[in-house]
């Protein structure tokens, strides 16, 4: 009658596992992450590339050639140390451009990821990026008497602050009125968009002074003292600026905040379970505002680094074309809202972005398709991440098939797990 309590005794029973469906987006994400590990994002990316390849195939071109061209266009061949000097120089330049694109993507990716860890979906990365960029431009054009470090740092700080305020508005509205951040951040994107169209238009307040004719809707160039030093390439040819290391530093900062500070503890508690957080004595509303502000600071910083690092000026057509903030969503989702993941995903998208626009020859791909391949892959990634349940189901069914013929060792491992 008495049964030995062997090592196979399990405390968790299936009823209990099924008992509590995770409620918030962040807790669903945690469950998803636990279930799929590193496999799912890789699967997601592979699947997106596969379908992208099929589309290239459907237009009558060779998808392998197309992807090979993208890889070379992104300068990844530079890593293989090409012996031909011409090839090497081109590759080096391409690679520096890929990293230049990666820099703001890291930051807009972190912006989405940070809000997500607090249970919010910040769709307003693009608006925050733009206001950061405007402020950096304004600081860069004004305050010409500052020393270079002071001028650069002031511009960066202004950009981050602008992004923080912009996103903070959405956080504040959520905390006080319950307005959903997805709606408010989208609206703030449009506000930022039209502000840009206004300030850079003919006769607009930031439209270029003496060095630009009044008929062009474009800002003035920032002063040389406001330019972030370039460490790879030529500053006049969009060289890679040291803001890149700034972005890498932000990855580390993101990890430290989340894992080593009480602030990160609160953010995660609120993100996983706001009720338990409130019960623990954490002020949930304060956290909504603060996390949004930090999120926005990352995106604003992206705009600041772009402006002070290589753009130097901005026009209304640039405002209309800006996509970096939106790409941040795909970066964060593919990177699963972790520091390392965001870094890798930003590099992937940075490479795609530059590789598709500069690597593809009209012979290998339909010219009208070339620039859109990145957008397609971006859309597919978002789609597949949204379909996480589906991908997990596919993945788990593969495991189920494996379990039907389990090896003895595997059985033992399962029993012990």
């Amino acid at each position: 009658m008495s049964e030995p309590l062997g090592p196979q005794r399990r405390e968790t029973q299936p009823e209990e596992i099924a008992g509590a469906p995770p409620t918030t987006a962040a807790s669903r994400f945690a469950a998803w992450q636990k279930a799929g590990g590193i496999i799912v994002p890789i699967l997601t990316a592979v699947l997106a590339f596969l379908i992208g390849g099929l589309i290239v195939l459907a237009t009558g071109h060779n998808p392998f050639q197309a992807y090979w061209d993208i890889i070379n266009g992104a300068g990844l061949n530079w890593l293989a140390h090409p012996t031909n000097t011409d090839v090497a120089n081109t590759a080096a330049y391409n690679f520096s451009q890929t990293l230049l694109q990666t820099t703001p993507l890291i930051l807009t990716g972190l912006a989405v990821a940070f809000a997500f860890r607090c249970g919010m979906f910040n769709i307003g990365g693009n608006g925050q990026y733009l206001v950061g960029l405007y402020c950096a431009n304004w600081v860069g054009v004004s305050f010409v008497n500052l020393t270079r470090p002071a001028h650069v740092l002031l511009g960066i700080a202004a950009a981050a602050a602008a992004g923080a305020i912009w996103a903070g508005i959405a956080g504040f509205l959520k905390a006080t009125t319950g307005a959903h951040e997805v709606i408010t951040t989208i609206m703030l994107n449009w506000v930022a968009y039209w502000i840009g169209n206004y300030i850079f238009q003919q006769g607009g307040p930031l439209q270029g002074p003496a060095n630009k004719p009044l008929s062009i809707p474009i800002s003035g160039d920032i002063a040389h003292s406001a330019r972030i030093p370039v460490f790879w390439g030529d500053a006049d040819l969009q060289g890679l600026h040291i803001g890149f290391f700034f972005a890498i530093g932000c990855l580390v900062l993101f990890w430290l905040i989340l894992n080593r500070t009480t602030l990160g503890y609160e953010v995660k508690a609120v993100g996983y379970n706001p009720e338990a957080a409130a019960y623990g004595g954490i002020k949930v509303r304060v956290n909504y505002v603060r996390a949004m502000a930090i999120s926005g600071a990352f995106a604003g910083l992206a705009g600041g680094l772009d402006m002070l690092g290589y753009l130097y000026h901005f026009g209304t057509t640039d405002v209309q074309a800006a996509q970096i903030g939106f790409l941040g969503i795909a970066v964060a989702l593919l990177g699963r809202n972790t520091a390392l993941g965001v870094g890798l995903a930003a590099f992937l998208f940075g490479g795609l972005l530059y590789g598709t626009t500069h690597g593809l020859q009209s012979g290998t791909i339909d010219p009208s398709l070339a620039g859109h391949l990145t957008e397609m892959i971006q859309g597919l990634v978002v789609l597949f991440v949204g379909a996480d349940v589906l991908i997990l189901a596919v993945w788990n069914s593969r495991r189920r098939i494996k379990r039907r013929r389990p090896a003895p060792a595997q059985q033992a491992a399962e029993a012990a797990s």
Binding site: R10, E11, P14, T261, G264, K268, N273, Y279
Partner: protein, 510 residues
């Protein structure tokens, strides 16, 4: 003469990833008997019944119905063969009438597509008199009591021709009076020839109603015993696998000064309607005060107001003689109120956090857990390690996610966190809900120990048994008011009546 066997489950085995939910379970049901299926949470009772009801397919074993092996592909197959199930959570449509709910899917029709409502009402009336289950066929389900809703569920099964009725934890949602009525219904169904499987983890009611009792433990069938000769102690031992102390051993309380005082508290619920009305109460050091009541009579709002999670519309809360101005969760924690919340998964724990992080939930922002906003994960782990040992948390270490623990161990983590902060007042809301006998025993003993440490304990529970066995003083809550106060030795019937508003001090305004 031995009554005939109507149903047999032979060698049923069901595996889930990493766990065997049913391990070669045998079970048989005789015609016209009440056969109780007894076991702790997670023992495999629900899995077994879901197999019988066609919701799961067994990995091994067979179901034999009236001598013939059957395979059910879905619940519909089971219903067609005369098996009915009343789930713990009712599957009724609140906005529809009783008759509409009962005939759902097998409606009498007119003109081929329209519901013949008059005939539906007539049939429900007929079946309800035949089985002696009084319901009003034209009442809307949302307007009738939980006990009545359960009758509707039973009628729904009978209407579909159920000869075998599975009742899954049927008394969990009922008051003692309603449970008594349910038992009368079960008896009369039994006399009418219906065979009943009664799933429960409560020993006393199993002994009251069942003819035979089958005990499951961790997926294995331990034994099937007749009621005659079975005792609570014997059954508990079979359920848990060791001797269990069923009665809480409790020395008389050594009370001190008043540590928690609530004065004229009024609290609104989420809809802005008054939920707590003019409640005053006090709890002394070294005393357990229990609040009895049917769910939804203002207990949750009262606890939330006392712990600062909900602001009161008027009244005050004093801890150790000091009135707490504008209570917030943080402030109440700081003045020494510990809180075991009623829903440990929704509020008591962040399931994604590790045990160590969960234990730090109130103190993560103070030394030694952190300094100047910088967190020291290793210190959290150290603290968790010693508490895990002290509170006998099983199933994981400091870095195991809270969600990976069983309910009993999750509750131990919550209790460890609250008690280790050395609170003056401990508010324990449904501390043993959904836990198995072993964990209940542990938590009850612990609560008494904390009382004897000189804490003031306010216990809120929907389980009258729990209130009666732990409390030194009992308050009864009905429609937001305290309608009765008793010493610990009051009878269940007396309180049960007050819980339903039977003996109010004053009529409540509508």
């Amino acid at each position: 003469m031995e009554p005939s066997t109507v149903l047999e489950l032979r060698g049923i085995t069901k595996r889930f990833p990493g766990v065997v939910a049913n391990d070669h379970v045998d079970f048989d049901l005789r015609s016209g008997e009440v056969h109780a299926l007894l076991g702790e949470n997670g023992a495999g009772k629900s899995t077994l019944m879901n197999i019988l009801y066609g919701l799961y397919k067994p990995d091994e074993g067979e179901v034999v119905l009236k001598g013939k092996p059957v395979v059910f592909g879905s619940a519909k197959d089971a219903i067609d063969r005369g098996i009915g199930m009343v789930h713990q959570h009712f599957m009724l449509i609140p906005v529809m009438t009783v008759a509409e709910n009962i005939v759902l899917e097998v409606e009498p029709r007119k003109a081929g597509v329209l519901l013949d409502y008059d005939q539906a009402v007539e049939r429900v009336r007929e079946i309800s008199t035949r089985y002696g289950l009084a319901v009003n066929p034209t009442a809307k389900v949302e307007n009738i009591s939980v006990g009545q809703q359960q009758r509707v569920e039973i009628l729904k099964a009978l209407y579909r021709g159920a000869e075998i009725l599975i009742l899954d934890e049927p008394t969990a949602v009922l008051t003692p009076q309603e449970a008594g009525e349910l038992f009368a219904i079960i008896k009369s169904l039994q006399e009418g020839g219906t065979s009943i499987i009664f799933i429960s983890h409560k020993l006393n009611e199993v002994l009251e109603i069942a003819d035979r009792i089958t005990v499951l433990r961790r997926g294995k069938m331990i034994d099937t015993v007749p009621r005659e000769g079975a005792t609570e102690e014997g059954l508990a031992k079979m359920m848990v696998g060791r001797e269990v102390l069923l009665r809480v051993e409790k020395p008389p309380p050594q009370t001190g000064g008043v540590l928690l005082e609530v004065r004229d508290l009024n609290v609104d619920d989420d809809r802005g309607l008054p939920a707590v009305r003019d409640v005053s109460l006090s709890v002394r050091a070294g005393e357990i005060v229990g609040i009895a009541g049917v769910e939804g009579n203002g207990q949750s709002e009262l606890i939330e107001a006392i712990t600062g999670l909900r602001s009161a519309s008027s009244g005050e809360v004093a801890v150790a003689g000091q009135v707490v101005p504008h209570p917030t969760a943080r402030r109440m924690l700081d003045v020494g109120v510990g809180h075991i919340p009623e829903d440990r998964q929704r509020r008591g724990l962040v399931l994604e956090f590790s045990i160590a992080e969960n234990i730090a939930l109130h103190d993560y922002n103070k030394p030694p857990a952190s300094r100047f906003g910088w967190l020291f994960p290793r210190r959290l782990i150290q603290r968790a390690r010693s508490l895990i040992r002290e509170f006998d948390v099983r199933g994981g270490g400091p870095q195991t996610a809270g969600g990976a623990l069983s309910g009993g161990n999750q509750q131990k983590v919550v209790a460890a966190r609250e008690v280790s902060r050395d609170p003056k007042v401990l508010v324990a809301a449904q501390p043993t809900r959904g836990l198995d006998v072993g964990a209940i025993e542990y938590l009850h003993r612990r609560l008494v120990e904390e009382r004897d440490e000189g804490r003031a304990i306010l216990l809120i529970s929907l389980e009258l048994d729990e209130i009666l066995s732990l409390s030194d003083r009992i308050l009864v809550m009905y429609e937001g008011r305290i309608v009765g106060e008793h010493s610990g030795d009051v009878t269940e019937e007396e309180i049960g009546l007050e819980m339903l508003g039977g003996r109010r001090k004053e009529p409540s305004p509508a």
